[in-house]
C-alpha cells in the first residue's frame, strides 16, 4: 500500500501548490491521497475568527447526501474538531455508533463508521483540521497518522495562502467596485502626467471617456478653464514638490465636452514610492449644483440686503438733509420740509412693505398660519380694491375698472389672503403700466372662479413668464420691490388649491395675470362650501 510513498507525497504536494486556490485542486489532491489512505469522506474544517464556530472549508465524499455541508458553519462545542484543536493531536474515532462527539451520530447515519481528525497547523497556530471518514469500522491507525503528517504542513500552508489570496481578491474586488461605481472621479497620475488610474465616472462628469486620459499625457489639465489653469497647475506642482503633504482641496472649472462649464472640487495627495513623490492621487467631485446654489444664495442675500438697506439709507439721508437745512437757515422752508417729509414717509412705507412681505412669505412657507376660511364674495372684494386703488392708478394716468358678470358665487376662502393676492396683482399692474388700462374681471368655471387682472403695460417675455412666480425673481435686478410679491401670491393660491399663471403676447404687449379658486375648498379643516 505504501510502496510509492515518497513519490505520492511529492505528487500531492505538487498538486497542493499548483493553484492559488486550494479548492480548485482539492478533488485532484483527494484522489491522489486516496491511493495511500482509504476514505469515503474527506473534509477540511477551519476555525472561524471568534473561535466558537468552525466552517467546512472543502469536502469530498463518495455518497450523495450529507448533513455537514461545505461553506456552512457549525458550533465547535462537542465536535471532533474541538478536541483535535485543543490537544493539537490527531484523534481517532473507532466506531461512530459509540462515539462521544456530537458529529458522530450524524455521520453514522450517513454510513461513516470510523474517523480520523488531524490538526492543521500554520506558523505555530492551529487553523483547523483534516477529517477522514471511512465506512469501515475501526479503520484508521497510527500509520495513517504518520503518513499524513508529511502532507499536513503543506496543506495548511496552501489553505492559508488560499485565504490570503481570497482576501486580496475580495479587497481588490471591493476597491474596483468602489472605483467603478463612484460618482466622483478617482485617479492616480504620475509626475509626467500619465494616468495610472481614471475611474469611468469621468465620462459622465467631463464628457470624455477614461481612455482618452490613459492615452494622452496631461489630458486633465487641458480641460481646465483657462482662467483656472495656472492656479491648478501651481497647486499640483506644490504637491509634487512635497510642499504640501496634507490633503489639498481646490475648486476649479473645466469645460465639458459639450462646451458648458463644470465646477469640480479636487482633493489630492502625493503618491509616494520609498519616500519619493512619484505622482498624485485623489478624487474630483462635481460641485456645479452647489456652486449654482451658492450663486443663487448670494444673489438672494444681495437682493434682500439691497431692498432693506436702500430705504434706510434714504431715511438717513433725509434726516441729514433736514439737519443741514436747520443749521443753515434756522427754519426749514415749507417746500424743503414737505419734500423731506415725503421722502421719509415713502421710505418708511417701502421698508414696512418689504419687511411685511418677507415675514409673510416665511409664514406662508412654514405653513404655521392656517387658512381662516369664511364665506367671501370675490365680486365685493374686487369692487373694494378698484375703489381703493383708483387714485394710485390715475397717478400714472391709468384707468382701473372691473368687469364682473352677475352670479359669481360666494366661496370659502381666507379673506385677508385673497385681498392681499388681488391687491398685489393690481399694484403690479399699476407699477408696469403707464397711460393704459387695468381691468379686473371674474368668471365662473365648472368648479372654480377665475379672476383675471389684465393690463396694457410692459408685458413679459417667455423667460420672464416662466420665472415670474419664483421667489426673489426680478426682471430687472434694481426694480422697485422685493421680488417676493408674486411668490406670495402663488403660495396663497396654492394654499387654496387653486392655480395661478400669467399670459402675455410679449414685451410691450400687456399681461394677464390669472388665478382660479375652487368653489369647494378641500383643506385640512375639512370645510366644504355650499355655493349660493
Amino acid at each position: 500500500m505504501f510502496t510509492n510513498k515518497k513519490e505520492i507525497i511529492l505528487n500531492i504536494n505538487r498538486i497542493i501548490f499548483s493553484s492559488l486556490d486550494i479548492r480548485e485542486v482539492y478533488e485532484t489532491m483527494s484522489k491522489e491521497l486516496l491511493k495511500v489512505i482509504d476514505f469515503d469522506r474527506l473534509s477540511v474544517t477551519l476555525i472561524t475568527e471568534d473561535n466558537n464556530l468552525y466552517e467546512t472549508f472543502v469536502l469530498s465524499k463518495d455518497y450523495a447526501y450529507t448533513e455537514l455541508k461545505e461553506g456552512v458553519q457549525y458550533p465547535m462545542e462537542g465536535s471532533l474538531m474541538k478536541r483535535v484543536v485543543q490537544f493539537r493531536q490527531p484523534v481517532i474515532v473507532e466506531d461512530t455508533s459509540k462515539g462521544r462527539f456530537l458529529t458522530d451520530p450524524v455521520l453514522y447515519k450517513e454510513g461513516i463508521h470510523s474517523r480520523l481528525g488531524y490538526p492543521l497547523e500554520h506558523k505555530g497556530r492551529v487553523i483547523g483540521s483534516v477529517n477522514f471518514g471511512s465506512k469501515r469500522k475501526d479503520y484508521y491507525s497510527k500509520k495513517h497518522i504518520t503518513f499524513f503528517s508529511q502532507i499536513a504542513p503543506q496543506l495548511a500552508m496552501a489553505i492559508e495562502n488560499t485565504r490570503l489570496f481570497n482576501g486580496i481578491k475580495e479587497a481588490e474586488e471591493k476597491y474596483r467596485t468602489v472605483i467603478e461605481s463612484s460618482p466622483d472621479i478617482i485617479f492616480e497620475c504620475t509626475k509626467d502626467g500619465e494616468f495610472l488610474l481614471m475611474s469611468p465616472s469621468v465620462e459622465k462628469i467631463t464628457g470624455y471617456a477614461a481612455n482618452q486620459f490613459y492615452e494622452n499625457r496631461g489630458y486633465g489639465l487641458s480641460l481646465c478653464h483657462e482662467e483656472d489653469q495656472e492656479r491648478v497647475q501651481r497647486e499640483i506642482l506644490q504637491v509634487l514638490k512635497g510642499q504640501n503633504d496634507s490633503l489639498m482641496d481646490i475648486e476649479f472649472r473645466i469645460l465639458h465636452k459639450q462646451g458648458h462649464v463644470v465646477w469640480l472640487s479636487l482633493e489630492m495627495l502625493p503618491m509616494k514610492q520609498n519616500k519619493d513623490i512619484v505622482g498624485i492621487e485623489g478624487f474630483c467631485r462635481d460641485i456645479t449644483e452647489r456652486k449654482k446654489l451658492d450663486e443663487l444664495k448670494d444673489n438672494l442675500v444681495r437682493d434682500v440686503t439691497h431692498e432693506l438697506k436702500t430705504p434706510v439709507a434714504k431715511i438717513e439721508m433725509a434726516i441729514d438733509m433736514f439737519e443741514r437745512s436747520v443749521t443753515l437757515g434756522d427754519k426749514v422752508s415749507l417746500g424743503r420740509g414737505s419734500q423731506i417729509h415725503e421722502i421719509l414717509r415713502n421710505n418708511v412705507n417701502r421698508l414696512k412693505n418689504s419687511i411685511k412681505n418677507i415675514l409673510d412669505i416665511s409664514k406662508l412657507e412654514s405653513g404655521v398660519e392656517p387658512l381662516k376660511l369664511s364665506d367671501i364674495s370675490i365680486a365685493d372684494l374686487v369692487k373694494q380694491i378698484v375703489f381703493e386703488q383708483k387714485d394710485s392708478a390715475s397717478t400714472k394716468n391709468n384707468v382701473l375698472t372691473h368687469q364682473l358678470p352677475a352670479g359669481i358665487p360666494i366661496i370659502k376662502a381666507d379673506r385677508d389672503m385673497i385681498y392681499h393676492l388681488i391687491n398685489h396683482l393690481v399694484n403690479n399692474a399699476i407699477k408696469f403700466t403707464e397711460h393704459g388700462k387695468i381691468i379686473i374681471s371674474a368668471r365662473v368655471l365648472s368648479d372654480a372662479v377665475e379672476v383675471t387682472v389684465e393690463d396694457t403695460g410692459r408685458g413679459l417675455d417667455e423667460k420672464t413668464r416662466e420665472r415670474v412666480f419664483e421667489k426673489f425673481y426680478k426682471e430687472m435686478p434694481s426694480a422697485f420691490g422685493s421680488g417676493i410679491g408674486l411668490a406670495i401670491c402663488k403660495n396663497i393660491v396654492q394654499k387654496h388649491k387653486g392655480r395661478i399663471w400669467v399670459e402675455s403676447e410679449g414685451k410691450g404687449k400687456g399681461s394677464r395675470f390669472k388665478f382660479t379658486l375652487p368653489m369647494i375648498v378641500d383643506t385640512k379643516q375639512k370645510v366644504t362650501t355650499n355655493p349660493k
Binding site: 440686503t305 436702500t310 438717513e316 439721508m317 441729514d320 443741514r324 434694481s478
Partner: protein, 122 residues
Amino acid sequence: MKELLIVEDDLEMQEFYKDMLEGEPFTVTIVSNAEEGQKKIKEKIYNLVILDILMDGVTGDRFFALLRRDSRYKEVPVIMASALDEKTYRCFQALGNVSFLEKPFNKERLLSEISMRFGSKK
C-alpha cells in the same frame, strides 16, 4: 468749471444729490438712466461720473464697462454708489480709476469723495 455727470434712476436720490451739491463750484448734470447718460457722454467729456449701480434697464456696472470702451473716457474717474457694500463690486476695479461710495452718505462724505476724485488720473 469742472463738469460732473450723475446717473441715478431714483428720483429721491437725485434730490439728495441736488441738495448736497447746490452752490458747489462745479456744474452738475443729473440723468435718470444709462441711455440718457450715453447721450450726455457723447456730447462732451465730463471730469467725473457718479454711477448708481442697480438701475432699471442698463445697470450702472454695464454703463461703466461701456464708458471705458469709449477712448475719451478711458481715464475719467468714476464713483460707483450703492447701498450694497464695496465687496460686491470689487470686480469693477479692473476697469480702472474707480472708487466706491456707500449709501447713505452725507454732504461732507460726498464732497470729499468728489474733490479727491476730480482730476484723479490714477
